[in-house]
Structures are given as structure tokens and as C-alpha cells.
């Protein structure tokens, strides 16, 4: 449908696009992302003939974009530019009807077809109720819908949008992307949108195109493009990629700068964490950022702590869920425990499956251990006092046990034990 061949473009002396090769198939929904000045808007403008490439060419349906006259192009391609402010107080119907301009003769009135199409696009974009309102009376989201309706009235095969939601509140952002998704799926409209919002595009677009300094850095489905390495390389930002549980699409979270202090200097202090059921995920993150060398286990695959440890890249001893921890895994766990300078036992509940995680501590009386005691062991014991007995035995025999009543003092206590 749309193809670019080594397009290069510069403003004055500054090279903005340094050879972009792209092929976009009919019916695609592409999000172009990238940092400021990476050339994403410039690329869109080159694809819509607003700017003319210095070298290279753009093809629309196998025909050079430059060979289209402006009316022909307007029937195939519609564009929603970044600034959609209309200074003049036209009413919504008139604005949308202007989308029919490429089909109208200079002196002819509105044809039946024009009226029919405008009515349809108003229905699709839910702007019928705004029909007689003046464009300047609308909210940002409503105005954007009207502008999209105008673009649809052109009956295009391909729709290009430049930051369609940049000036909108979060509720309108979803609304606009929902509409785009609908148009893409229902009418097989090819959509290319430029956005700086990684998560919105990841949610909605089929494929992402990540630009860096005028070149394509990565392209493909969101899962492949939005990786921590890619974001680090392109944006120079530390992020954590999670998966949105509803859509299974990646979700980018920025790691705040304060949590990143000294991260690169790993401390020469190893901590092994025994946890589960999400009892460790909050402090894992802090410990990781403080530069402690972490390991964790044994954890069931899919457990909340397992997921957090995975995201942070911590070494995990993992076991399949719903069955007892096996000998192999216990053996694996020992290796980490033996290397550790400190063992942390979180306030996890004990059952058949994970009792081995508690028992193992009895074998290492010389290792320093930090036990969470904010929740009484009785309340966490789901195997009729078995766990409680082991717990009490530990407390009696072991001289290297430190109890932590208040979880918020964790870091302070670790620092004490470190010296």
C-alpha cells in the first residue's frame, strides 16, 4: 500500500531522516514512536507529500507519491495534522462536509452521495449530535473526532495522524484510539499514527516503528519493539516492561531516577530471599536498585514474586506451581544460600508445597538470617503447626537470627548486618 525507499530529508543543514525503508500493507495499524527530534513527524510529512524528500521516494499503491496531483491524493490519503485548531467558527457539519472537497466540482451543490457519506462518517465518529454546534464550542476530544470525521469523508484508503492525542486528557486519548482501532478493524482502513505515548500505541497498534535519530531502530509487534534494551538505547531511560494483564500487551514504566542511584556499582553483598505470594516484590525492587546481588527461591512459576524477580532480572530457583518443591530445586536453592551473606525470609504463608523453604534454614546456623516477624507464624501456618514448630526450633537454636517487626526498617537493618 505505502512504501518508502531510502528517503532522506534535512531541514537546512540538519539531517532529520537518514534513509528510511518501509513497507506498509493495506489494513495495517502502525504506530511510529521515538523521542523528540527522532524524525517521526517528519517521516509522516514525507509520506503525506507535505514535505518532499531530498532523495529516495515514496510510493502509494505502486505509484510515486509525487505523480499524484493534490486532488487524486486527497481521495486516497487523509491526514489529521498535529494542530487541528480551526480559527473560524464553522459548524461541525460544514467542517465535515469540507472533507468532500476533492470530489466536488467547483459550482455544483452538495450531491446526494456527499450528504450520505457525511452522515455515515458522523455516525461512525459519534458526531451526529454535534452537527449544528460551532467548532470552537467543542471539547478537545470532540474536535478531534470531528477532524477525523472530515478525514473519513474523503473516503481514503489510508489515514495518517500526527500525535492525535497529544493535547487530550486521558479519557479522550482512549476514546480516539478506540475509534481508530474500530476503523481499522471494521473498514480495513490502513492507519499510520505518530505518537510519543509508548503505552497507548503498544495497546492499540498492530506494529510499532521505533525511530532513533532519523533511522528505524526497531519494528514489529509491540512485544518485540518495546524491550528494556531498546528503550534504553533509544531514549536513554531505565524502564521496566510489564504486561498489561487485560490485553497482554507490553506496558512501559519509567524507573524513577532516585531509585537508580549507585545502581551500576554492585555491592559486594549477596542476599538470598525466600518468599512467595507477593510478599517480597515491594522490597526486591528497592534492594535491586541499591545494588545488592540478589537471588530468590524456591518460587513457583507465575507467582507474584516470581514475576517481579523476572522483571528485575534476579536469579531465581523456580518450580512448577501446585506441586511440592522437589529435591532438585532444593539442591539448586542450597547453592545460592551457600553463597549468600544474608538470607531474608519474608512473611510468606507456609503450606505443603513450600515447607522445604523453611526447613532448609535449619541447615545453615552460621548464616545471618533476617526473618520477617510482623505477622505471627501461627497465622501463616497452613499445615497444622508444622511450620510453627520449625520456626520455634530455629529461634531457639540459631544465634544468627534477626527478627524484623517493622517492614519499613528493612533497609536499615540490612545495612547494619552488612558491616
Amino acid at each position: 500500500m505505502l512504501k518508502t525507499d531510502k528517503i532522506k530529508f534535512s531541514y537546512d543543514q540538519e539531517k532529520i531522516l537518514k534513509g528510511i525503508d518501509l513497507e506498509i500493507k493495506a489494513g495495517a495499524f502502525i504506530g511510529i514512536i521515538g523521542p523528540n527530534a527522532s524524525g517521526k513527524s517528519t517521516l509522516l510529512k514525507n509520506m503525506s507529500k507535505t514535505l518532499k524528500a531530498d532523495s529516495g521516494s515514496v510510493y502509494l499503491d505502486h505509484k510515486l507519491l509525487n505523480d499524484y496531483n493534490s486532488l487524486e491524493l486527497a481521495k486516497k490519503m487523509a491526514v489529521v495534522p498535529q494542530n487541528t485548531e480551526v480559527n473560524f467558527n464553522f459548524n461541525v457539519y460544514d467542517i465535515i462536509m469540507m472533507g468532500r472537497h476533492p470530489y466536488q466540482k467547483r459550482w455544483s451543490g452538495l450531491s446526494q452521495e456527499d450528504k450520505q457519506i457525511v452522515k455515515e462518517v458522523m455516525k461512525v465518529t459519534d458526531t451526529l449530535k454535534l452537527k449544528t454546534k460551532l467548532i470552537n464550542e467543542l471539547s478537545g476530544g470532540e474536535r478531534q473526532r470531528v477532524i477525523i470525521a472530515r478525514a473519513l469523508a474523503q473516503k481514503p484508503d489510508i489515514l495518517l495522524l500526527d500525535e492525535p492525542t497529544s493535547s487530550l486528557d486521558i479519557n479522550y486519548q482512549g476514546e480516539i484510539y478506540d475509534l481508530l482501532k474500530y476503523l481499522n478493524q471494521e473498514f480495513n482502513l490502513t492507519i499510520i499514527t505518530v505518537s510519543h505515548d509508548l503505552n497507548l500505541t503498544a495497546q492499540y497498534c498492530e506494529e510499532l516503528l521505533l525511530l532513533k535519530e532519523g533511522k528505524i531502530f526497531a519494528s514489529g509487534p509491540a512485544e518485540e519493539v518495546l524491550t528494556e534494551e531498546n528503550i534504553k538505547a533509544v531514549y536513554n531511560a531505565e524502564v521496566i516492561i510489564k504486561t498489561n494483564p487485560l490485553s497482554e500487551k507490553p506496558f512501559v514504566t519509567l524507573v524513577p531516577e532516585v531509585n537508580r542511584i549507585n545502581k551500576r556499582e554492585l555491592r559486594d553483598f549477596r542476599i538470598h530471599v525466600i518468599a512467595g505470594g507477593g510478599t517480597a516484590k515491594k522490597f526486591l525492587y528497592k534492594l535491586e536498585n541499591l545494588g545488592y546481588q540478589l537471588s530468590i527461591g524456591v518460587l513457583n512459576i507465575g507467582d507474584a514474586d516470581w514475576q517481579a524477580a523476572k522483571e528485575l532480572g534476579i536469579k531465581i530457583v523456580e518450580a512448577p506451581p501446585f506441586i511440592d518443591i522437589s529435591k532438585n530445586e532444593i539442591q539448586e536453592n542450597r547453592k545460592f544460600i551457600e553463597k549468600a551473606d544474608l538470607i531474608i525470609l519474608s512473611d510468606l504463608p507456609f503450606g505443603h508445597g513450600n515447607l522445604a523453604n523453611l526447613e532448609i534454614l535449619l541447615d545453615y546456623p552460621k548464616k545471618k538470617k533476617l526473618l520477617f516477624s510482623n505477622l505471627e507464624i501461627k497465622k501463616r501456618d497452613y499445615i497444622k503447626g508444622k511450620a510453627e514448630r520449625i520456626w520455634n526450633k530455629l529461634l531457639e537454636a540459631d544465634k544468627n537470627i534477626y527478627l524484623l517487626k517493622d517492614r519499613s526498617n528493612l533497609i536499615k537493618n540490612i545495612k547494619k548486618l552488612e558491616n
Partner: protein, 337 residues
């Protein structure tokens, strides 16, 4: 349908009002003429004295027609400029047309050139020449490649205006004997105009009008912003240049006979837009009728208020337009379009 009825009503009212004004203007003037004689002259059913025939047929009637043309021309050109530049504070003189025309007139007087072309006064011809040359210069200055960025165009116009105005002042200091004629011209006046002036400007005026009418729909599209207009299939640069050219030609043609009458090109498109909305297919005709009626009214006042002395009509239009503009500014500053 309600919308259409309303618009028809507006047009009918304005057209009726215009005709009424024309008749009124025929009847009043510095020399007292019996109304029955005037009616007789119009209906052509009774002989009237030669002087009456001359006053009505050769003085009042052409002046009324000219006021109509000039007023309509200024308002239409103003509306077009405001649309292309997408700024409501723009008038047709912004790009230096009046300064150019004035300099043309000054030069003609200064050099004592009195070429009698086909029996016409040479002053309007020089004004026209000055105006057209100025527009051409501004256009060349503002052009970047084959594009015409609106902002550069405006700034080039303002700069050229300044230069020409100072040149004009310099010439005025050097030569003072024709000062009154010049001051009248600068303030804008229709005094002493006749059929010959109409004949001179009509071809240019009609050409420019035809072009503007041809591009009315494109003007609407242009209002959406140049980028959006291009995506709707409009050849923006070409349309812009053609329309700017037509509006400049229209302004140059009327300025050459009337001098720089202020405020009509600025205020009248505003009022028309407030009444009928921004669609140029409806706006331009209404602005033309408003401009025409307004100038006719002002000119009639100019020649009768202090009769037998004539006031420059520019004083009256500015006096009426200025306060109105301030009112607009204070009351509708948010939504001035």
C-alpha cells in the same frame, strides 16, 4: 431550511436598504434641487433644466456608483486578505498598497507630470501604478522559493509601507503647493470623481471580482489552515497567490480613485461574518453590499454635513469604524471570528 430562510431574509433586507440609500443619496446634496425634478429626471418623463441634469447625471449619480464600487471593493478585498492571512486584524492596506498608491500620486505631482491619457486625470493612473508596483515588490521580497509564507508577506508589506510613507513625507516637505489635494487624497475622498474614473477602474475591478468569486469555495478550505487545506486536495500555494493577486488588484483599482479610505476593509468583513458566518460563499456578497452601503452613507454625509465644504470621507469612516472596532475588541475579544 430555517438557516436558508434567515439568510434570504438578511440579503433581501440589505439589498432593499442599499436601493433606499441610493435614492436618498440622489436627493440630497450641496445644491438644492427640487425633488420633483429629480424624480422627473429618473423617470425621464419631463424635461428638466440642463444644470439639474448635469448635477444629477454627471455629478451625483457617478459618485454614488463609485462609492458603491469602492466600498464593495475594499470590503471584499479585506475579507479575502483576512482569510488568507487568517488574522482578523488585517486590512487591504497592510501590504503597503495605499502607501504605494500615495507615493505614485506624490511622484506625479512632484515631477509635474500631467499626461492626459484619453482625457483622464493622470492622478489615478499613477496611484494605480504605484499600488501595483508595491504589491509586486512585496511579493518578490516575501517569496521563498516558489512559496509565499504569509508571515513574511505581511512583514515585507509593513516594511515597504514604512519606506514608502517616509518617501511620501519627504516629497511633501520638498513641495508644498499641492498639499491640500494631497491631504485629501491621503485621507480618502471621492470628491470630484466622475464617469471617467468608473470607466478606468471597472475593468480591473471586475477582473479581480471574477477571480475571487471563482475561488470562493477554496477560500473556505484555506481557512482550515494551509496544511489541512493541502490534505483536502487544494493547491495551496497557487490558490494563495492568485487570491492575494486578485485582492491586491481590487484594492489598487479602488484606491487609485478614492485615496486610502480606512476601516472599511477592516471592520465591514467582521460585521458581515458576525451576521452570516464564515462561509465565504455567503460572506463575500454580504460584505460587498455592506461595504458599498457604508461608504455611500459616509460619502453622502461627507458632502452634505458641512456643505458647501466637503469632508474627506476617510475621516467619517474612521470616526464611525474606530469606536465600533474598540467595542468589538472589548466585547468579543475571545471569539472575534
Amino acid at each position: 431550511m430555517g438557516e436558508n430562510k434567515k439568510n434570504t431574509f438578511i440579503y433581501l433586507t440589505v439589498v432593499l436598504f442599499s436601493f433606499l440609500l441610493i435614492f436618498l443619496a440622489l436627493f440630497i446634496g450641496s445644491s438644492q434641487i427640487n425633488p420633483t425634478d429629480i424624480t422627473a429626471y429618473i423617470l425621464n418623463n419631463k424635461a428638466v433644466s440642463a444644470s439639474t441634469a448635469i448635477i444629477i447625471g454627471e455629478i451625483r449619480l457617478p459618485r454614488i456608483i463609485l462609492a458603491f464600487i469602492v466600498g464593495a471593493g475594499l470590503a471584499v478585498a479585506g475579507a479575502v486578505f483576512q482569510a488568507i492571512i487568517r488574522n482578523p486584524m488585517v486590512d487591504p492596506y497592510i501590504i503597503g498598497i495605499s502607501a504605494g498608491a500615495g507615493t505614485g500620486v506624490m511622484l506625479a505631482l512632484f515631477l509635474g507630470i500631467e499626461i492626459a491619457l484619453f482625457n483622464l486625470s493622470s492622478l489615478p493612473a499613477f496611484a494605480f501604478l504605484g499600488a501595483v508596483l508595491t504589491v509586486f515588490t512585496v511579493y518578490q521580497l516575501a517569496r521563498v522559493g516558489n512559496k509565499l509564507p504569509v508571515l513574511t508577506f505581511l512583514l515585507a508589506g509593513v516594511a515597504v509601507s514604512f519606506i514608502l510613507n517616509s518617501l511620501m513625507s519627504f516629497l511633501m516637505v520638498l513641495r508644498t503647493e499641492n498639499l491640500q489635494q494631497l491631504v485629501y487624497w491621503l485621507m480618502g475622498s471621492l470628491a470630484g470623481t466622475g464617469w471617467s474614473d468608473i470607466r478606468m477602474i471597472l475593468p480591473y475591478f471586475l477582473t479581480a471580482l471574477a477571480v475571487i468569486v471563482f475561488y470562493l469555495k477554496d477560500l473556505n478550505i484555506l481557512l482550515l489552515g494551509e496544511e489541512s487545506a493541502a490534505h483536502l486536495g487544494l493547491n495551496v500555494e497557487r490558490t494563495k497567490i492568485i487570491l492575494l493577486g486578485a485582492a491586491s488588484l481590487m484594492t489598487a483599482s479602488v484606491v487609485s480613485v478614492s485615496g486610502s479610505i480606512g476601516f472599511i476593509g477592516l471592520v465591514v468583513p467582521h460585521i458581515a461574518r458576525m451576521i452570516i458566518g464564515p462561509d465565504h460563499r455567503r460572506l463575500i456578497p454580504l460584505a460587498a453590499l455592506f461595504g458599498a452601503s457604508f461608504l455611500l452613507l459616509a460619502d453622502t454625509a461627507a458632502r452634505t454635513l458641512m456643505a458647501p465644504m466637503e469632508l474627506p470621507v476617510g475621516i467619517i469612516t474612521a470616526l464611525a469604524g474606530g469606536p465600533y472596532f474598540i467595542y468589538l475588541l472589548r466585547n468579543k475579544s475571545k471569539n472575534i471570528w
